[in-house]
């Protein structure tokens, strides 16, 4: 069952070949065996998961199972789940048991899915290597001396190591897609507003978006079916008629025939995505994938995204600005960590936050506080917002000429643990390709497309126009029917 797709698992559950309790126990046992080394999970709770599995079995027996009923799903520890520790990878919330469910968790509960555990992550989702977690780094299952990517590194590792059949993640500047690429799995960040942010611990509110991580586009589509939907508690949630992302995956591109299912698809390729900084092994794998798409009938269109080089600086103004304010609530007053000793109120604040936050979080709070300060706001924050609009305009222009944009997800394959922790700028440049869609609010995904140096996975980045998730998943699905990169699993797992 560990290598089975969600569809196959659902079929087995429906045919009573396996119970949800058995399935959940198998995954929990596997986590018990491997997690000590991989560190993908912060919390597992056998009793809670099995209680949900029993309920799911009863529901299946009653005959009212939904597609994911009884399937254990791992959730990034950024999603509040009632009765579960929700640490966000931080000492600050290392004692915070959420009294409520995030909208995403509610949706999975309603679907009858089982919470398999809470996955490790960079502290408050700030990081690209999963090394900033208070709970220690996550290992890349392809080579444990390497990072899995971040911030949703725990979820990516759990999928790659077959510790979970499906997982949730969140993506502010690449936090689903970059670990998906580095860990060799499929991950999708939906259009901003598709998935409710209610109950998702905020990092940068205007960029944060929950999404799905799985072994294949098909699995991701099934997960997205559960996660997406309007929620009145999130004022940035968008009200749209429900879509079935998994229903039409196998259908060819509009007007195409079965032998060349992607005929008519115009893939935009930007020169800017293949410039200096892109590792040769990654470039080669991505070019190979583009050739495969051409074999499937797609055509290539050269496009320009001239302002994309401004995206990293703009992002590192906007995201820290919002984060500096979002993280103000962690003050030791009402919940979470509080310094054991302090002289007065100010001292309590200072010590609590000095001890409760890690170095990367503090760095971003400082940057954010600075750029919002009186006299600097116009020069930094306002200017960054203008750049943000220009980047969205670049994409709008590109999408008048193509249907999807493809390129590398990350400039390199996974890097060794500890190799970039002392150089934040190098670390930030990991997200150079993934940041622009967040700034524009566009949907984007990463899917496995080969292997590079050290036999480490390479991810293909696919960016779509607003609300084009169904089309993106269809295109990815056809690629995955023609290739087997997504079926490869790390050795020794």
């Amino acid at each position: 069952m560990f290598n089975a797709s969600l569809k196959e698992i659902a079929a087995a559950l429906g045919a009573r070949k396996i119970s949800s309790v058995d399935l959940t126990e198998q995954f929990l046992d596997r986590i018990g065996r491997l997690n000590g080394d991989l560190n993908a999970f912060i919390t597992v709770d056998r009793a809670k998961s099995l209680a949900q599995a029993r309920e799911a079995d009863a529901r299946i027996a009653r005959g009212d199972a939904a597609p994911l009923t009884g399937i254990p799903i791992a959730h990034k520890d950024i999603f509040c789940a009632r009765g579960w520790l929700t640490s966000c990878g931080s000492k600050m919330l290392s004692n915070f048991v959420s009294p409520y469910d995030a909208h995403v968790i509610e949706q999975f509960n309603r679907a009858g899915a089982v919470i398999l555990g809470k996955t490790n992550m960079d502290e408050f989702a700030m990081g690209s290597s999963n090394e900033t977690s208070f709970y220690g780094p996550v290992k890349n299952p392809w080579d444990r001396a390497f990072v899995p990517g971040g911030s949703s590194g725990g979820s990516a590792c759990a999928i790659a190591a077959r510790l979970a059949p499906g997982a949730t993640g969140t993506d502010t500047g690449g936090s689903i897609r970059q670990p998906a690429a580095l860990s060799g799995i499929t991950g999708l960040k939906p259009t901003y507003g598709r998935v409710s942010r209610y109950g998702m611990v905020a990092f940068a509110s205007s960029l944060d978006q929950g999404g799905a991580m799985g072994k294949s586009a098909e699995d991701v589509a099934l997960l997205l079916n559960v996660m997406a939907g309007f929620d009145a508690r999130d004022s940035t949630s968008l009200e749209r008629s429900p879509e079935d992302f998994a229903g039409a995956l196998a259908q060819p591109w509009a007007g195409a025939a079965a032998e060349q299912p992607l005929a008519g698809l115009r893939i935009g390729v930007a020169r800017e995505h293949f410039g200096a900084g892109l590792a040769a092994d990654v470039a080669e794998a991505v070019r190979g994938a583009l050739a495969e798409f051409e074999r499937l009938g797609a055509s290539r269109v050269d496009i320009e995204l001239p302002r994309s080089e401004l995206s990293v600086p703009a992002y590192y103004v906007i995201a820290p600005a919002e984060a500096s304010s979002n993280l103000s609530r962690f003050d030791g007053v009402r919940y979470g960590y509080r310094a054991p000793e302090y002289r007065d109120l100010l001292d309590m604040y200072c010590k609590t936050r000095a001890q409760g936050f890690g170095a990367e979080v503090k760095r971003r709070i400082l940057i954010g506080t600075y750029v919002l300060s009186h006299g600097y706001y116009d020069a930094y924050y306002l200017k960054a917002q203008r750049i943000r609009r220009l980047i969205a305009e670049d994409f709008a222009r590109a999408f008048s000429r193509c249907d999807l944009i493809m390129g590398p997800t990350s400039p390199t394959v996974a890097f060794p643990l500890g190799s970039k922790v002392s150089d934040p700028v190098q670390m930030y440049l990991n997200d150079i390709y993934t940041i622009p869609p967040n700034l524009a609010g566009l949907p984007a995904m990463s899917l496995p497309c080969g292997f590079g140096a050290g036999n480490l996975p390479v991810g293909l980045h696919v960016v779509g126009d607003y609300f084009s998730e169904a089309r993106m998943l269809k295109v990815a699905h056809h690629f995955q029917r023609a290739t087997d990169w997504h079926l490869r699993a790390p050795k020794g797992i």
């Binding site: 959420s98 509110s205 940035t236 609530r329």
Partner: protein, 501 residues
């Protein structure tokens, strides 16, 4: 040198919505601490704000009311911003407010003073959330936090520095207080903090153009404190300057016990609030349809009503202002007017001045004495109107009218104002049964006057030697002889005639 005080006011009016501005928790006053603080109010990780439509509508009602019902001053797109600072009763570490783009921009409040009218310009009015409360007593070296008030919707109303005395500031605050209750957006309860004033006060030599350095007096929750604080502050600033000192921009607190203001913090330690648009809340868009709907639901405004009382009823500006200080008092007045008419008599036939005087002097006095809203007046507008009708017709005199009014009011007081006292039919029944009918019969009154003149030779003497007072004494005697029922105008006439002969 002559000095001039310059005052601008910032008023926080709590909007009368059932739930908070960004959460579904109740805004009811007086619940046990933290009983009305939900996940959003205590700022749990992951929670998000959703703007309360009722709060927005109330802000628009205000915008229309201060701009003669025109919506030119309502921003069709306004923006919620975060004001960042740390304080234990501010759960998110920021307050959601409006900064660069408030919902209301501009407007006017007309105030009426004894010596004329004045227009006070409004700078803006914006929506924001209230903070919680820190409790420093009873916690043995610790502080308690009550977040019931956190997230309560406020409209912050900022005036231009248009006021020149504490009296003007109080008149403005009263007019505003009356208006927000009038248009049903705030209960105006100052004890519960539903209406709080901050006063920006500066002084300058009379005739100077430039404004002096201002100090802001925070959190004045009564009109009396507002008056005292401004008077003290202005005097202190003038004396400081006259003694060679300079005013430093500061935030000050008023101590009601000493009647003094003292600095809390100066500009040097002012916060950098790092305002920026709240990314959790899209811009607040107000459509023309919403404005039209709200406009249609607006009552006649105090200003319009005041003008109507002046033009239609011929009342003075001052009387009209007194009668429109409160929506219910005006309605009471109009009821009195209607019931003071004979069946079928047109409104124009009413003695408006008489009705106004009665409502202003008798009714208002009793309401103030008993601290009652006009809706709870002990004597209904129908009853008082009927009493005044009988008075106008000459059936009873003013003294009888007052006696009846007082008697009825006492009945209401005995029921703790659960019931009104008297009713129109009882007015007539009592006039009949007690024989209160005014004595206007010329012959009978002449006989009484003759009798009084005969019995009070000394007063007659005094009057003839020029003492006006003696005349009043004689009238008093004659009234007494009629058992209080004599027509005072007729008696006076007869007396004057007889004394002259």
């Amino acid at each position: 040198m002559e000095w001039e005080t310059v005052i601008g006011l910032e008023v926080h009016a709590q909007l009368s919505t059932a739930s908070k501005i960004f959460s579904g928790a109740s805004t009811q006053f007086g619940a046990p601490p933290n009983a009305q603080a939900c996940a959003v109010d205590i700022a749990l990780p992951g929670v998000l704000p959703v703007a309360n439509r009722g709060a927005v509508e109330r802000a628009i009602r205000f915008g229309l009311a201060v701009n003669g019902m025109s919506a030119h001053n309502i921003n069709r797109r306004s923006v919620f911003a975060r004001k960042n600072y740390f304080y234990p009763d501010l759960p998110k570490g920021y307050q959601i407010s409006q900064y660069e783009l408030p919902v209301v921009l501009g407007g006017t409040i007309n105030i009426v003073l004894r010596d004329g009218e004045k227009a006070v310009r409004l700078t803006r009015a914006h929506l924001e959330e209230d903070a919680g409360k820190s409790l420093h007593e009873d916690f043995h070296g610790m502080s308690g936090i009550d977040l019931n008030r956190a997230g309560t919707p406020l409209l912050e109303i900022v005036s231009e520095p248009d006021m020149r005395s504490a009296e003007e500031a109080v008149a403005y605050a009263r007019a505003l207080h009356s208006l927000v209750r009038w248009i049903d957006i705030c209960d105006g309860n100052m004890q519960e903090g539903s209406f709080r004033c901050d006063a920006n006060v500066s002084v300058r030599p009379k005739g100077a153009q430039a404004l002096g350095t201002r100090r802001e007096i925070k959190n004045l929750n009564s009109f009396r404190f507002l008056q005292q604080a401004i008077e003290f502050e202005a005097r202190w600033q003038i004396e400081t300057i006259q003694d060679g000192g300079t005013i430093v921009q500061a935030t000050v607190l008023f101590d009601p016990d000493t009647g003094e203001t003292r600095a809390m913090r100066t500009k040097e330690d002012a916060h950098d609030y790092r305002y920026f648009p709240d990314p959790d809340l899209p811009p607040l868009v107000v459509t023309e349809a919403t404005i039209a709907e709200i406009r249609a639901s607006m009552p006649e405004l105090p200003e319009q009503r005041r003008r109507r009382y002046m033009s239609e009823f011929g009342l003075s500006a001052y009387d009209a202002a007194l009668l429109t200080a409160d929506r219910e008092l005006g309605e009471h007045f109009e009821e009195v007017v209607r019931h003071s008419l004979k069946e079928g008599e047109p409104l124009a036939g009413a003695d408006f001045k008489l009705c106004a005087n009665w409502v202003i002097n008798e009714v208002s006095a009793k309401l103030n004495e008993e601290n009652l809203p006009a809706a709870k007046a002990g004597v209904g507008g129908d009853t008082l109107g009927h009493i005044l009708r009988r008075l106008r017709e000459g059936a009873i005199n003013a003294k009888t009218a007052k006696d009846l009014f007082s008697e009825f009011w006492s009945e209401a007081r005995e029921s703790a104002y659960a019931r009104r006292g008297g009713d129109p039919r009882r007015v007539d029944a009592l006039i009949e049964s007690r024989g209160l009918k005014q004595m206007s019969d010329e012959g009978a009154l002449e006989a009484i006057v003759d009798q009084v003149l005969g019995a009070n030779a000394k007063s007659v003497e005094e009057y003839r030697s020029g003492k006006q007072k003696a005349f009043n004494a004689l009238i008093g005697q004659a009234m007494k002889a009629t058992g209080g029922k004599g027509n005072p105008a007729r008696i006076s006439e007869i007396l004057r005639r007889k004394l002259a002969s």
